[in-house]
Symmetry: D3
Subunit: 254 residues, 6 copies
């Protein structure tokens, strides 16, 4: 099975190719037997996603990339952002390609591992949008709460140890004050740091890593032969006769 | 008070300047005493919005326009699409500008005019997203149902009479089968056609026109001196030091 | 447009005509251009409303006043109590008159200004009924919490400064402990004190004043040409042939 | 135990004393061993309750009657209207008297007899308020639907047979189209006609008679030694020092 | 009326016949005039119920006992466990026998005594299942919270005073932190200790004892002539022709 | 990875060893590379599961089998019944073994393939329990409806073609009347018949087969290194010191 990890921005420009290579290696380690999992970058997108605005800005580039992945025969793609920006739109574009959001996949897995899960997000400003995201997934009755780690996404890699300490602090509040019994990492940078390993050990509860959750959930859907419902996510009418996503945008003066 | 009706695409290119002028005239007729209401077009956006994908594609251009409106001292803006695309992102960009979505404003007004309202959407493919939109507004317990009119948006103006007949047909099902007691037009083209007038007469129930609802709701918010909560819609961190929306996008090869 | 602020009790008897005149002046300052806004008092009602019982006791007098306002050609009325007592009954009585409740109008406006709003009520005993009221409005998913100011309504005017201090204290708990991002004053006495101005400044979040919210929301509905659905609020059958509200009551002996 | 069936209006004036005597006899037949169950009429109230307005108009008279019943040492009272008007206010007035609403008691019993119950109401105009009433009871997830019998309350006694036929017709739709497995009579006139007996036989599902449900539920609460929570239904502050309900009303010109 | 208190295990073996006799005496004191209330023990079941597993293990024995009670002409049975294990299955087995669960009966009564009730459970491990149980009852909107008493069920009788102190402690948190206005004892051992009496006195709010609630609610259903809906709880097809519950189990090697 | 398909009854006795061998072969075809998937039968359980009662009766045998699987070093088990009977209890017993219910796994997968899914159940009597099951999964907002196929489970294999015709009929109603956009087979016999293949072709929407869904979801959880939360599903206290499930049952005389 041929899968892609689709980063909705040219992060080689912002994070550097070293970090992108490191992430490629992590991804290679995750793919199951018989699966290839390529990191691909959209040609256009925000440097990082820390607001609703940047979520929207990431969609046009990702949609064009979905078009390309489908043309090249990929079976599925993981959207490379824990906020799952534009998942419905990307599924409209795809005809056969199965697209999984790390947030949604994590919530679905977390819901069956316990009774009530909590999500740990990078910043106070992403707490509200994360509540909205869980509501969209249909699982709000299973949400214990959302807690902020309060570390800038870019600073996370600099001091892994300090990051883990902050994550554990937020986790303790989720467990003790919100009554959570499962934890979800709500950020792909924490996911690539594999913060789940130490956190599960420290807290004794399962910790869902959105990267693993999404890759494994995608493998499950593809190997079960399932595709998104085109009744739910119909192809945009203007794309009917071979027109591409890029053709949908009008521009003045340009 | 100085308000804008912000169309999230250069529709002069797609609909022609005659239709845009006609709409300008309609808008001038709606503004209350002491209010100016200008139609403004984003420099970039989809020809029309008939899918989730096109909703997302409309946001980058609209966000830049919000930036400009605020710089020019506008008090408020109505987003010119019944699906309210990117409302949260636009509110993040704005510091003082109040931004109203026609869908949300209509649902809020409809909720107080009766017990359960129905929304009439252009096509079967917009039924699902409209349910999602009502859920986002928090008012799903007040929703009787969503019914599709089944007319392409572009064909609506061609035969006003046929359009009204289809709208009334959908309305009857909403009233008789779904138990609605208030109707909402879920499409700006129906709004500019003023389909609400005949429909209210034919059915005997209130019909909310999203254009009127949004303009009047916006006037209400602005004259009450209210602004969006920056705690709920914080300014994206990367825009902190005078950077503009356009600076957020990275592009390869550029 | 001709509007009334309908106090559901003869408060000139309880509060004195000076305070009533002061409130008339406040109201005159709120009306938009082309709007008259008269304070009218029902001939019968409770001295003040601090319990569910007093809410019910206010309805018979208010219903008769609605009858009179409609006969005199008023376009709309704001019900003068933040608890919105008997809103459904008053809408049954009215044929064309649009009636807005300050509580409901505030919740609707608050819901669009942020993600989750909190209501500040006068006393612990009104906390429960306020939860019920938000549920009736359909917006319980957007409610962060209800916090009590713990000042007797009658004492509020005596020491404006002390009142504001208590209001701010309750507001801080709503923001810090309940996660609210918008505040609503749940009391008309706080509204006439204009406690919203200082509170918005102190907290940095929008504060909805139910008096402004109701008047502006009513102006919006009337200028949009909307009326309540008689399918939702049908005229009571016994009032069909010209009978008035007063004729509905049987009395033994008396 | 000493119980009252409190009719919130002087129905001897509207229905005649013969019908009232007939109802007294029915009530005597319902009381369990050791229980007295008296029919009492409020001194003021609407001839019958067919609208939200009349529900409110019934509360002031009922509240004064609750005061009297408590003074006379009654243990509990059934409110004599299936819409449960003013239940919260009456519970505020009572110190020890337990007050049961026939609607609420029926919904609670119905919820344990099956999975989803339907309510049969007299008229189309009471369908909406009945949905609201079930929501207030907290049991909306257990409601299959509300169906209207479409017979004026006053005409029900005239032709018992025709009435039962209409009731059965509505019941069939509730069972076949709404998926109900338990039925509730939503009207005290149907209750006093004992329409439940034939309906249960005809349909094969349990039919809750609100009169029986309320009397038996009240006996259960009283014999379990339970009272309403004064934390939930606090005594109105103005009634603190021996003042009665009647003292709460101000009147101009009086 | 002939009622049984059905203990879903042979507790004479685990608790001793003295304690069973003491419980028989308590039950005799609860039955209303004209009611007999026998304690019966299933021939098979867990020593006590402190986990979901033990709830399931209690059902086969209880189902066979229901069969016997119905054959002997009983009118109703209270299931002797506050978790209501297998209530739906037992109602499938019964043709006429009315079966009440102490948990469900308590929640239904509590819901009408206030606005929001809290449940006090024996251990932290029963908190989650109790949330689930309230959700199943349909009343989750009326639940303030679940608080654990943290005493092993078997130790409760040893030191009644210490037990009451722990119960009161948990109750205070439910009232002060969760905003409850009614309390429910979530454990039959607390019920047989009559912990409700002192707790109601100490806290000033109603305390629902599941034993009293269930017995009185069952008396109410039976004397109202109501039975469970066989449409909701159909007889298992394999039991159609006189086959008994015991015949449903296949065993290898047997 | 070593997985089991745990049938909660000795179905070799009821279905015959031929059918069991056929199912073993189907299972072998489903396991991914590196996975073994054994069919194991509990030593005790009902011949088939067509009622809530039989669901409960299946749990004791399944719990003992879980104990054995864990002792033998299995990594995970699929519970072999679409109703997921006793899933919480089995997870209490397991220390490391991951247990997936086919119903829950199907609902979780279906929720991400579209907006609203429908479940097709064997009989009218399983419609109600299936609604309950979806509610327990937390996904009721995503459920379009439950439709019954109306074929006895045992008759399904006899005429595959007739069965498929009935399944398609039920599916059409779910799509046309309930607005579903994804279908779920709610029965393991339909799953082993692979009714999903033709149904997906005939209807054009994705059809989730609970057997594939469960196996693939289990592989995903195990390969992601996740386990159930012991905070949510604590080990029953009486099993703490090496005691086994069988020790929990007391029996009189016999």
């Amino acid at each position: 099975m041929r899968l892609a990890y689709l980063v909705p921005a040219p992060i080689s420009l912002s994070m550097g190719t070293d970090e992108v290579e490191r992430r490629r290696a992590v991804l290679r380690g995750l793919a199951g037997p018989g699966t290839t999992l390529d990191l691909v970058e959209a040609a256009e997108g925000p440097a990082s996603i820390e607001s609703a605005l940047e979520e929207y800005l990431s969609v046009p580039g990702a949609a064009r990339e979905v078009e390309r992945l489908e043309a090249e025969g990929y079976d599925g793609a993981v959207l490379g952002c824990a906020g799952d920006p534009g998942l419905d739109a990307l599924r409209e574009v795809a005809e056969r390609l199965v697209i999984v959001g790390p947030g949604e996949a994590s919530f679905l897995m977390a819901s069956t591992l316990g009774r009530r899960f909590a999500v740990l997000t990078p910043a106070e400003s992403t707490v509200g949008p994360t509540y909205d995201q869980v509501h969209r997934s249909g699982l709000r009755d299973r949400l214990a709460g959302v807690r902020s780690v309060e570390i800038p996404v870019l600073a996370m890699r600099d001091d892994r140890r300090a990051t883990l300490a902050r994550v554990e602090q937020a986790a303790r509040r989720a467990l003790d004050e919100d009554g959570a019994d499962v934890l979800v990492l709500g950020c792909m940078s924490l996911a690539f740091l594999r913060a789940d390993v130490e956190l599960a050990e420290a807290t004794g509860v399962p910790v869902v890593n959105p990267l693993l959750a999404a890759v494994k959930f995608l493998e499950a859907l593809v190997s079960a032969g399932l595709h998104h419902s085109k009744r739910a996510f119909p192809r945009p009418p203007k794309l009917a006769h071979g027109a591409g996503v890029a053709s949908l945008l009008l521009r003045t003066g340009a």
